[in-house]
Symmetry: none
Subunit: 280 residues, 2 copies
C-alpha cells in the first residue's frame, strides 16, 4: 500500500529545510484544506513563496502539485467514508508516541480532568457570580508565576465590567489600596506552591477588612484558604522542573466564561462602547 501523506511528512520531517517545514506546519495546522488551495493560496497560508511549496510537495514524493492534491482528496474521501472516520480528525503525528509535547499534553489533560472532577459543585458558579456582581472594585493579585494569570483575568474582566484593579509590582504599592477596600469589593488571589509571603499578607489584611476572597491555588492548598470565601484548587503536576498552570488557567477561563454569561447584558454594551473608543 502507498504511504499516506501524513506518513510521508513524518518520514522526511527532519530532512526538511526551514521553509519546507513551515509548509508542512501549515498543512498540518489546516489539514487538509490548506493543501487543497492553489499553490499561491497554500503559500500565503504558510507564509512562504510558491516554489517553496512545490519543493515541499516534491520532497514528500509527488512529481506535481495536482498529483499531490489528488492524493490528498483520495485520502480524505476514504477517511470521510469509513464509519469510524470521525474520531481521528487530526493528523496522527507526534513523534510516534512519546514526544516531549505528547507527554506534556497528556499530563496537562490529566490535570484538567482531575481538577474538574474534584471541584466542589457550584463553587465555580458562586465565585463567578461574586466577581461579576460585586458592587465595589475587583482587585487581583498573584505571585511570581501566577501574576500573569491575574493579569490575564484582569484583561478579560476589564471588558466585562468597570472597577477592575490589578495590583502589580512591589508589595509596598499594594498597601495603599487596602485603605479603600471593604465588603463591597472582591479580592481575587492567585497563590500556588512556594506560597509567597507578600500575597498571603495582603490577603489577610483584606480579609480582616471583610473583603470576600476568591482564591485560585494548587491542591496543596495555600494558607490563604482559611480566609478565602471561595477556593478553586487545581492540579499542577507536570513532567518538568516547573509546575504547570494549565489547570489553573482552565479554571480561570471557566470563571470568565460563566461571568460573561451572567452579566452579558451590561457587558455587551460595554464592549461595544470600548470598541468605539478604540476606533477614534
Amino acid at each position: 500500500m502507498e504511504k499516506s501523506i501524513l506518513e510521508r511528512i513524518r518520514a522526511v520531517s527532519d530532512r526538511l529545510t526551514a521553509k519546507e517545514r513551515k509548509a508542512a506546519q501549515a498543512l498540518l495546522s489546516n489539514y487538509p484544506m490548506a493543501g487543497l488551495e492553489t499553490v499561491a493560496g497554500f503559500a500565503r497560508i504558510a507564509g512562504v513563496s510558491g516554489p517553496s511549496i512545490l519543493r515541499f510537495t516534491s520532497r514528500i514524493g509527488f512529481s506535481s502539485y495536482p498529483e499531490f492534491q489528488q492524493h490528498l482528496r483520495a485520502e480524505m474521501e476514504a477517511r470521510l467514508k469509513s464509519p469510524i472516520a470521525k474520531a481521528p480528525q487530526g493528523p496522527g503525528l507526534g513523534d510516534g508516541d512519546g514526544s516531549d509535547l505528547e507527554r506534556f499534553a497528556e499530563a496537562a489533560i490529566a490535570n484538567i480532568r482531575n481538577t474538574a472532577q474534584s471541584l466542589a459543585p457550584r463553587e465555580l458558579e458562586k465565585a463567578a457570580a461574586l466577581i461579576g456582581e460585586a458592587p465595589g472594585t475587583v482587585y487581583l493579585i498573584g505571585g511570581r508565576f501566577t501574576d500573569p494569570l491575574a493579569r490575564y483575568m484582569a484583561a478579560h474582566l476589564k471588558l466585562l465590567r468597570p472597577r477592575i484593579m490589578h495590583l502589580a509590582g512591589q508589595v509596598d504599592s499594594w498597601r495603599d489600596h487596602l485603605i479603600d477596600m471593604g465588603r463591597k469589593d472582591v479580592l481575587i488571589t492567585y497563590d500556588i506552591r512556594r506560597y509567597q509571603e507578600g500575597v498571603i499578607w495582603f490577603a489577610e489584611q483584606a480579609a480582616s477588612r471583610k473583603v470576600p476572597i476568591v482564591l485560585f491555588t494548587d491542591q496543596w492548598i495555600s494558607p490563604v484558604t482559611r480566609i478565602a470565601t471561595h477556593v478553586l484548587p487545581a492540579h499542577i503536576e507536570a513532567p518538568s522542573n516547573f509546575d504547570s498552570s494549565i489547570a489553573i488557567l482552565t479554571l480561570t477561563e471557566a470563571v470568565i466564561a460563566h461571568c460573561t454569561r451572567l452579566i452579558w447584558e451590561q457587558a455587551q454594551k460595554r464592549i461595544r462602547d470600548l470598541e468605539e473608543l478604540r476606533e477614534i
Copy 2:
C-alpha cells in the same frame, strides 16, 4: 449568516435540470471532495460535461467555480476544527452530564490534543533550542490577552538564563529596544486572533534586523507567520465569548520544560545563586 452549500442545494433542488441534479447528487455522495476537483474532474465524477457543472454552481448562487470551492473549503475547515460541537464524553461521574466546567474542560482538552497532534515534529524542540541557546537577549511581546502569557514565559526564562527582556506597556517604549536587536537575539511573539497592529509592526521591524522570531499563535495564522522562524500554532476555540489560551499555555510550558532540560547545567547553578540572593 450565509447559507451553507448543503442548504443552498436543498433550497433549489426542485428547480434543477436533469444534469444539474446529477451534479448535485455526485457532490452529495462524494461530499465534499468532488467539489474540490477541477471542473473537468467533477464533471467526470458526475458523468456530465463541464459547463453543466458550472451551471449547477451558478444556480446555487456562486458567480464562479473558484468562489464555490472557496466556500466549500471554508465550510469543511470550520467543521473539522470545531471541538465544541463534540459531546462531552468525559468521565461523567457525579454531575450527570455537562456542568459548565465539564464542558469547558472537555473543550480545553480537545484543543490541547488537536494542537499537540497537528504540530510538526521537532518544531517545538527547535524553538526551545533557539530560545535556550541564543547568545544575545531574548525579547518577549504579546497582545492584549497574550501579554500575560509572554510574562509567564519571561518569569520562567529569567530563572534559566540571563538577558530576558519582556516588553510591556506602550508601543513607544518598545521602539527604543529595536536599535540593540540583531541576529544573536530572539524575539518571542504571542499573537492571536484580532492580531494587534503594534505587535505585528514590532515583529516586522525585528525581522528586518535579522532577529529570529518564535511565534505563538492560533490556527488562523497571524500575519507574523511569514516572517517567523518557528511557528507554534494552537487551537483556541471555547464554549465562551472569548477564545481560550489553554493550548497556547500548554505549548508555552512545553517549550519551557524542554528548554530547562536543554540548558539544565547552567540553569541549575543560576537558580541556586538566585535563591541565595533572595535569602539575604
